[in-house]
């Protein structure tokens, strides 16, 4: 699943490690989400959105 997690994270100057710690997952999981290899649960999507001060739409909604 394509998403804007990496772009947003870089804009906010947060490392994968920092984001991982905020949402209680491993850095590998964040990397996999950013690459679109792993589709997180809704619970984790919400946690990531909250940690970055964004909405689910901002991070995970695909706009053509």
């Amino acid at each position: 699943m394509k998403n804007n997690v990496k772009i947003t994270r870089m804009e906010q100057k947060i490392t994968q490690e920092q984001l991982a710690r905020r949402v209680h997952v491993t850095r590998q999981t964040i990397g996999l989400i950013e690459k679109g290899v792993y589709n997180p649960t809704l619970q984790l999507c919400v946690a990531i959105a909250k940690a970055m001060g964004k909405t689910l739409d901002d991070l995970f909604w695909e706009v053509d």
């Binding site: 870089m10 490392t15 994968q16 209680h24 997952v25 491993t26 850095r27 590998q28 999981t29 990397g31 996999l32 950013e34 690459k35 792993y38 997180p40 649960t41 619970q43 984790l44």
Partner: protein, 155 residues
């Protein structure tokens, strides 16, 4: 967190947890398949197997399946992203294997000296070396897979 009683066996990380759960499920299905095949073979009289042997095969077979899937998944060492970290962890694994070898030989030697076991020292040494080598190989394979996977995910 998934609503299951095996929660205590699962890690906190969501990705790891979901994958491990699928390995457990795959192992259970395979176990079921093997049981059905063995039942058919036994009923038709094609083979006769010792029931204890069948149980041991199923037990170690499914444990090995889950273990191998976990090692090959590259999920164990989630923070090994650089060459430096990889080399440091490899060293730690080597030390762990050597420690295991020394500990195993030490404990066995004590039992041998006190006459609790009668296995020959050569056999003890052989088993200890084999155990340490297997421990190193499995840990190293897992580390290598994790490093390869993590390298592609780095910022």
């Amino acid at each position: 967190m998934e609503n299951t009683w095996i929660r205590f066996l699962l890690p906190d990380d969501e990705y790891k947890r979901r994958n491990i759960m699928s390995y457990f499920a795959e192992a259970a299905i395979l176990q079921l398949g093997v049981l059905v095949i063995m039942l058919i073979l036994s009923r038709t009289g094609l083979i006769s197997m010792d029931s204890e042997l069948v149980l041991l095969l199923l037990l170690f077979g499914s444990a090995a399946y889950i273990g191998i899937r976990y090692i090959l998944s590259g999920m164990e060492y989630t923070d090994i992203m650089t060459e430096k970290a990889f080399r440091k962890e490899r060293k730690r694994i080597a030390v762990k294997s050597i420690t295991f070898f020394l500990f195993f030989v030490g404990i066995y030697s004590l039992f041998y000296l006190f006459g609790a076991v009668s296995t020959s020292p050569v056999a003890i040494l052989g088993v200890s070396i084999l155990g340490a080598v297997i421990l190193f190989i499995t840990d190293y394979a897992s580390l290598r897979r994790s490093y390869q996977k993590n390298k592609e995910l780095i910022d």
